[in-house]
């Protein structure tokens, strides 16, 4: 018996919310970056689920794109984090508010 679509969607929503809340409330930039990855993967789950449901392979192609972009993003993100750490010796997001009035 196949798992109904609503299960996938619910899972995806939970993972997405978790990521979103992580982005909004955590102070550690690495955790924030990981949370962003969670959000991306939540959408990937959605893609795959709908692709399966609709018998359309395009959704799975998109997942590959998203994974590639996510990998690139992590590379850039980590590089920025290292640069930030070198300037302030901290990766606490509270301490980076230079773009303020």
């Amino acid at each position: 018996m196949a798992i109904p679509l609503s299960y996938y969607v619910t899972l995806s929503a939970i993972v997405f919310i978790t990521g979103l809340v992580g982005v909004l409330i955590r102070r550690n930039i690495i955790i924030i970056l990981l949370s962003v990855e969670l959000m991306l993967n939540a959408t990937n789950i959605n893609f795959v689920a709908f692709s399966h449901h609709l018998h359309n392979v395009a959704g799975q192609v998109f997942v590959f794109f998203a994974l590639t972009v996510a990998a690139a993003e992590v590379a850039v993100g980590l590089a920025i984090i290292i640069a930030l750490y070198r300037s302030k010796f901290s990766i606490n997001v509270d301490e980076f508010q230079l773009l303020k009035w």
Binding site: L20, V23, L24, I25, D94, W101
Partner: protein, 633 residues
Amino acid sequence: MLYILIPLLPFAAFLILGLFGHWIKDRAHLVAVPAVGASFLFSLFVFAEVAGGRNVTIPLYTWLTSGDLRIELSLYFDRLTVVMLLLVTTVSGLVHVYTIGYMHGEKGYARFFAYIALFTFSMLMLVTADNFLQLFVFWEAVGLCSYLLIGHWYERKSACDAATKAFVVNRVGDFGFLLGLLLVLYSFGSLEYRHVFAQAADLTNDTINLLKPFGGEWEVSTLTLICLLLFVGAVGKSAQVPLHVWLPDAMEGPTPISALIHAATMVTAGVFMVARLAPLYNLSPTAMDVVAVTGALTMVLGATIALTQTDIKRVVAYSTVSQLGYMVMACGLGVYTAGIYHLLTHGAFKALLFLGCGSVIIALHHEQDMRHMGGLKGTLPITYWTFVIGSLALAGFPLTAGFFSKDEILIGAWSAGDLGKVLAVAGLLTALLTAFYSFRLVFVTFWGESRVDRHHAGHVHEPSKTMTVPLLILAVLAVVTGYLGIPEFIAPVLPSPAGAEAHHGGSAAHGIMTVATLLGLGGIAAAYHIYVKSPGLPDRLAQRWQQVYRLSLNKWYVDEAYDATLVRPTVRLADRLWKSVDVAVIDAAVNGVARGIGWCGWILRLLQSGQTQHYALGMALGAVLILSAYLLF
């Protein structure tokens, strides 16, 4: 082609000097003088052709077409035009030559030549206009040149003030002129002289209700209104009472300009305009009377002021005002030929007098006060003798040009009805005053003890040839223009008003000639007696007639009256408006808007915390909002 070149050559000279003046500098006269000289020669040719009885119209191009209205720029040559052409090019050419000596080594040499070339062009276009709009455009252009040239020495505040005054006063007149122009367009549907003149007779009974916008009832004859409005322009340009105040101040400009613009040509534009529009004026006796009386008032006022002025240029300037009064009066009385005749002779002898003044001024290192002159006839013989000839012509001494033209006016006035008789008597009295003040000028400047500043007294000498030759030529012209039969030549193009026939050669004419001559000689004799025979008498007379003397010395307090009634209230009003409206309302509104936006920004910038997570929260909430809106509706 020849016809077009007459105005075009000075214009070309202006363009060259205006664009390349920096580079041409002291060689400017090499461009301007030949241009005006050639223009003069061509005028002679055209004169010969037109004198043969052929009027020429040369269309240049259609300026604008709008519905039925077509405005063409064209040159019109008839007998009136060609004599004006000759006057303008002759005086302008001589003044150009004179300027070489007068302005030698000045900083604005090329600029000066550029402007007088532009002026010559504008004046030539003005006299050859064949429609009202062209007349108006070049009317303004000569005004502009006058402004630029009065303010030639713009470092001097007095020159700038005089230039501004001339411009503003002329603007008052030009406003009337423009209204007249619009009324012509409104009532005739055309601005071309021929159409307007052809239809004018049909409009004699038309009236306009001036108080219509206010619900009132005041019917005025359209033609009278047109004539009066146009005359307002002439009052400004030809320095008639009450707008004469700018002309004496215009003497701040270099002397060649005073001779060319403020004596011989531009100021006579008003007289020329009235004569050109004779077919219109003839249909409106009311307007004619106003013109005549204004001219007579100006004539008397100018002469009385000239009696006591001490600046030589101002004496000559007030005499110009007075002589312009003569011409305007003549036109107002319907004797246009006499007015134009006097315009031409006056152009010659007044230019001569101004250039003579300039020569004295240069010899004395820019001294203009008569009280610091005297005894110059030995050191400046050419200037002295030419000046005497000019003064004789101005005083109407027999056998000079001024004698013939002034008598022509007085005789014409005498035969022009009751008003004419009164004004002729005023003209005779003014002739007495004229003779007196012009010889006061001669005696005080050239005779008696030298009162010249000791530093300059040693090396007073005649100016260079470029300055004396024009003086000599003008001196000849100041005599011979009386013998050329000008009135007979121009009479055919200047229609007299209906019912007024000149009675020449009658016993009245001889009587007037005799009286005018005697009065002129009397004036000269009185001046001789007072200023040569009995030194000290002028001061005693001034003491005795203190109030009259003050009135004349202070120019009838006209400037003061304007200052008190117009200038100062305007300044005060402007001051009040500046503080109450400009600062308190307009500036406050502008600044208020800026401050309001500043406040908003100050509040909104609190949103910019710099915390990335706050922005992320905003994005998330926004996304939720949009999505829920999408789902709900």
